[in-house]
């Protein structure tokens, strides 16, 4: 059974396009996250939602907008894609924001041409 799933796994698109990455978790967790892993393998948190409410919003461009229709889903929408947005994006979830271990999705490799 897939715990945290992301779609698509690969996304190749042109600069200036708008794209979305979807994330779903079936663990019953109430907190979900988006991370960006750049080409140097640094993992940086972008957003965190707890029960559909934004609790962490790191300094990311306004072109990135998370949307949480329910606590099992956290989608990432990116407007006006730029070359620098090319990276692997990981979704994760946890039972609490504080102590519980985060479970990661398989990642979405985004390539902006």
């Amino acid at each position: 059974d897939t715990a945290v799933s992301q779609t698509p796994k690969y996304l190749v698109t042109q600069m200036g396009n708008d794209k979305s990455i979807k994330c779903e978790q079936n663990l019953g967790h109430d907190t979900m996250y988006w991370y960006k892993q750049d080409s140097k393998k640094f993992l940086k948190i972008m957003f965190s939602y707890n029960n559909k409410e934004l609790i962490i919003n790191e300094t990311v461009p306004n072109r990135f907008s998370p949307k949480s229709p329910d606590k099992a889903h956290l989608n990432l929408h990116i407007n006006s894609l730029e070359l620098g947005d090319s990276a692997v994006y990981f979704c994760a979830s946890s039972q609490e924001t504080v102590k519980e271990t985060q479970y990661f999705g398989p990642g979405t490799r985004l390539l902006v041409l």
Binding site: Y33, K41, K44, V88, Q102, Y103, G107
Partner: protein
């Protein structure tokens, strides 16, 4: 500032031998969690082991164990009896109850 440093970008080990991956972190907090994650070529992040800062006993999970030195802010991962399937990127992570911080990763190659 909270930072996590992994000073070994890449390491190699022979199959069946033992290897230690280093991690240091910087924090002014007293309570926190530390983790090691494995990222195989499939890119899925997998939790390997976790340590609670208030526990003095080092965490162990089968062939994986940590050497947690709180005063030195050091959290190394020891892999015993290395297997080919251990080949992956390994990330050290720090959780201060507010957000996660990851190190830059260590690429481990297990050679047959």
């Amino acid at each position: 500032a909270q930072t996590v440093t992994q000073s070994q970008p890449e390491m190699s080990v022979q199959e069946a031998e033992t290897v230690t991956l280093s991690c240091t972190y910087d924090t002014s907090e007293n309570n926190y969690y530390l983790f090691w994650y494995k990222q195989p070529p499939s890119r899925q992040m997998i939790l390997v082991i976790r340590q609670e800062a208030y526990k003095q006993q080092n965490a162990t999970e089968n062939r994986f164990s940590v050497n947690f030195q709180k005063a030195a802010k050091s959290f190394s991962l020891k892999i015993s009896d290395s297997q080919l399937g251990d080949t992956a990127m390994y990330f050290c992570a720090f959780d201060n109850f507010n957000k996660f911080y990851f190190g830059s990763g260590t690429k481990l190659n297990v050679k047959p």
